[in-house]
């Protein structure tokens, strides 16, 4: 639990709000990537003694979240040649407001849960909840398939923060397995996006409404 810990979490919270407020697609993806980097550093700083295991998790996390997936998404954008705007279903201001409300709610909720001494007063839980909520907001309010992927990525980030809290509890294998699954999921999604763009000539997920009652 180093002094670097909470500031990084604050950065992540800020990035959440930035993602909600940003109107450019690249910026959103970049923000998510930056969150990935922060998580990598957090992974290391979260622990008193730095073991190989910790290093490995951090490296894999950064590699997946900050390098591979953003590249995939950029590539998808290029292939698909989509409009570079985020095109939210609700305005940016409302989504910002929702994000802020979500953050407050997270802080309140985290108060209702008993904490171990190590985490007393730390931002881990609030920021985790807030990030998850941000991910959900992005998932539910952004038109494009790619933005939804980003939203999902942010959701996973939030979960990962929670995972940090119990890295000691979480054996290495699971961590990596988690990351791997995340990676594969996003990868498959990217492929699908390409198909989608080919079939529908746009990745506007809001247009995928042929199947309904």
């Amino acid at each position: 639990m180093s002094s670097l810990f909470d500031p990084l979490l604050v950065v992540i919270l800020l990035l959440n709000l930035f993602v909600l407020g940003a109107s450019r697609l690249r910026a959103v993806i970049g923000a998510s990537a930056l969150q990935g980097v922060c998580l990598g550093i957090l992974t290391i700083t979260a622990h008193a003694e730095i073991t190989l295991e910790v290093i490995a998790v951090a490296v894999v996390a950064v590699a997946v979240k900050a390098v591979v997936i953003p590249r995939l998404l950029y590539k998808a954008m290029r292939d698909v040649a989509i409009v570079r705007d985020v095109e939210p279903l609700i305005g940016l201001i409302p989504s910002l407001v929702i994000g802020a409300l979500g953050t407050t709610f997270s802080v309140i909720f985290s108060q209702t849960l008993p904490l171990v001494a190590a985490q007393q007063g730390s931002l881990i839980l609030p920021s985790s909840f807030a990030t998850v909520l941000t991910g959900c907001v992005v998932l539910t309010t952004r038109r494009k398939a790619i933005t939804q992927v980003v939203g999902y990525l942010i959701l996973e980030n939030g979960i990962f923060i929670m995972g940090l809290a119990l890295l000691d509890a979480m054996p290495f294998l699971v961590e990596v397995g988690v990351l791997l699954d995340l990676f594969v999921a996003i990868f498959v999604m990217a492929i699908i996006i390409n198909h989608v763009s080919r079939e529908f000539a746009s990745t506007d997920a809001a247009e995928l409404t042929a199947l309904k009652e």
């Binding site: 209702t112 539910t140 952004r142 995928l208 409404t209 009652e213």
Partner: protein
């Protein structure tokens, strides 16, 4: 008991065989018929023993969980229904083998043959079951088998709809039965447990009502009878005969069973009496103006169920208010009428089938003039008509007679309040009786007599012995029964004792029946002599056209039609029960073609059930907006589910936990 179980096995085996026999000519139908015959032969002795004083047996088979135990048994109450089932089963089975024969080229007859035997087996199972599970299983199998038989001609839309209505009604009924049994079966679902631990108070009442509704659907009690006319009209005639003859009676069996479980928690007498009067009046009123021969017969079944319920009701009333004579008369009357209705309705439906077979239509306005072209069928149908109009000297009268006297005794002896009701019940039965006369005169007079009303009727041909034989057997029974009733009284005592928990004194019943037997004899002899005399009187005769009252060229189309015959009484019916008639008379000076159409759909379906179901479906349809294919919204649902439920639970913890 064992015999009955063997019979079930035989029936199922023959059903399977019939299915295997597949397309080999007549093999399936013949196998099925033989199966029913053997089964009847095996089942009857045991049943007769059970009615004539053999101690009720119960067989417990340990079975796989979660059922654990299968209980079978044969007590008088079951045996009373097993006997007509076996008899009618084999008669209709043989009839069916010939009835479907002309379809052999076009249709795959293995299925109906198989389902027929499965149906009989299932009904037998229902009667043998001694726990709720067995009864429910048999019941549902019975429903499905009969459903598949009903939709035999599913190429026609109305047949499909009829089958569908039947299926839905039965399923809802089954749900009610299930609830009833589960309420009663707090100490286990065996009949023994239910009888020994009758629930108290409200539970018992609810269970009783649910049982009444559930079984009442199958029995065709108004107002849950709506499936009955549709299904009976749609089904092949031998199936209609079996369904109307015995299947709907199993509904009564169920009600009687329920009574033995629930006991006096419910005032069964008045309840059944009220339902019976309503059912009888509504049933016959609707039967009056039907255009479809088999629909009319089906509604007459509703009426007869009503009369049976009146009998059972007054019997139970007598038992509850210790009028032993009334109890004995009412119960005996009701039970007798069950048996005689089995025979009469079998006769009528099989006869209608023979008519359909010969003339190719059930439409009353297309029949006529068949008494000359199908003399034997017509004679049998006239006999059946007289019988089912409950006129002496045939089978239908005795049962109603006992019920009448039960009511009359009760009405003259009881306290003012109930006495008045019973007396008015007598009047109601009298009205029903005379309306029944009208109804069946109409069916016979318009359907069989006069000039042929269509080419089909003019070309009609008499059916062969295969069809007429079974009908003749039933006709013989219809003639013989009034004279054998007194001998059968002993068989009813254990049944009544089982339901009313008191041995009835059948002495009064016997002495009430005696004059009827004599009356029957007198009438037969008198009519016989009169017919001979008349034939002698008209020896010097010449033939001529029917006098057209001066009109020289009367045609068949000028005859009084079925609709016009019923028109007068139709006017007198309450509006709810009338057909919906839309008329466009020719208005202008030089008459233009006019139009008149009557919608004879069941008034309860039209007024209550259809609107209800439609509204429900529309309500549900309005929910579709929640699923419009928007992925974002779908994810929102998940998120909301998490947030809301977490909020609820954590708030709960906040209050509950220290």
């Amino acid at each position: 008991m064992i015999g009955c179980l063997i019979a079930v096995a035989v029936l199922l085996a023959s059903a399977a065989l019939a299915l295997l026999a597949g397309r080999h000519g007549r093999a399936p139908t013949v196998i099925a018929a033989v199966g029913t015959a053997i089964a009847a032969g095996v089942a009857l002795p045991g049943a007769i023993d059970a009615l004539t004083g053999a101690a009720p047996v119960e067989l417990v088979v340990t079975w796989a969980p979660p059922i654990d135990q299968l209980r079978f048994g044969l007590d008088p109450l079951s045996a009373f229904f097993v006997i007509p089932l076996a008899v009618l089963g084999v008669i209709c089975g043989i009839y069916g083998a010939f009835y479907l024969d002309d379809q052999r080229a076009r249709r795959w007859l293995a299925a109906p043959a198989c389902f027929y035997n499965v149906l009989v087996a299932a009904m037998l199972l229902v009667l043998l079951a001694r726990d709720a599970i067995g009864l429910l299983v048999g019941w549902e199998v019975m429903t499905f088998a009969s459903y598949f038989l009903v939709v035999f001609d599913h190429a026609q839309l109305e047949v499909r709809q009829a089958g569908w209505v039947y299926l839905v009604a039965s399923h809802l009924g089954l749900a009610c039965m299930l609830c009833s049994f589960l309420l009663l079966g707090g100490h286990g679902l065996g009949f023994g447990d239910m009888r020994s631990h009758p629930p108290g108070g409200a539970t018992a009442v609810v269970a009783g009502v649910l049982g009444l509704v559930g079984f009442g659907v199958k029995a065709g009690i108004v107002p849950v009878h709506v499936w009955l006319p549709e299904a009976h009209a749609a089904a092949p005639s031998h199936v209609s005969a079996l369904m109307s003859g015995i299947m709907i009676k199993l509904g009564l069996y169920g009600i009687l069973r329920t009574i033995t479980f629930v006991g006096p928690a419910l005032p069964w007498g008045p309840v059944l009496l009220g339902l019976g009067v309503t059912g009888a009046l509504v049933g016959i009123a609707l039967a009056l103006y039907q255009r479809d021969l088999k629909r009319a017969l089906a509604y007459s079944s509703v009426e007869n169920i009503g009369i049976i319920l009146i009998g059972l009701g007054v019997g139970l009333w007598g038992a509850e208010n210790d009028h032993p004579a009334v109890a004995a008369l009412g119960m005996c009357g009701g039970l007798f009428h069950i048996w005689s209705h089995v025979i009469m309705k079998g006769l009528m439906f099989l006869g209608a089938g023979s008519l359909l077979h010969g003339a190719g239509t059930r439409d009353l306005e297309q029949l006529g003039g068949l008494a000359r072209r199908m003399p034997r069928t017509s004679a049998l149908l006239v006999l059946g008509g007289v019988a089912i109009a409950a006129l002496p000297p045939l089978a239908g009268f005795a049962g109603e007679w006992l019920i009448y006297l039960g009511l009359a005794h009760g009405g003259t002896e009881a306290a003012p309040g109930s006495g008045l009701l019973l007396l008015f019940a007598v009047a109601a039965m009298a009205t029903v009786g005379v309306m029944a006369v009208l109804c069946f005169v109409r069916l016979i007079g318009i359907g069989l007599l006069g000039q042929p009303r269509s080419g089909a009727a003019a070309r009609a041909h008499e059916s062969g012995g295969g069809l007429l034989g079974p009908i003749a057997v039933l006709a013989a029974a219809v003639i013989a029964m009034p004279f054998v009733w007194p001998l059968l009284l002993g068989a009813l005592e254990p049944v009544i004792e089982q339901v009313t928990l008191a041995r009835p004194d059948t002495a009064i019943v016997r002495q009430t029946l005696a004059p009827i037997a004599i009356l029957g004899g007198v009438l037969w002899v008198g009519v016989g002599i009169a017919m001979v005399a008349i034939r002698r009187l008209v020896r010097r005769r010449r033939a001529a056209e029917t006098w057209g009252c001066g009109y020289l060229a009367p045609t068949a189309r000028m005859q009084y039609s079925g609709a016009s015959f019923a028109e007068g009484i139709h006017r007198l019916l309450p509006r709810l029960l009338r057909a919906r008639i839309t008329a466009r008379p020719s208005a202008d000076l030089f008459p233009s073609p006019g139009q008149l159409s009557a919608d004879r759909q069941d008034p309860f379906t039209r007024a209550a059930y259809e609107p209800l179901l439609d509204r429900g479906a529309r309500r549900f349809g309005q929910l579709r907006w929640v699923q419009q294919g928007l992925l974002h919204v779908y994810i929102l649902y998940i998120v909301l589910a998490v947030v809301v439920v977490v909020a609820i639970v954590s708030l709960r913890d906040y209050w509950v936990l220290p």
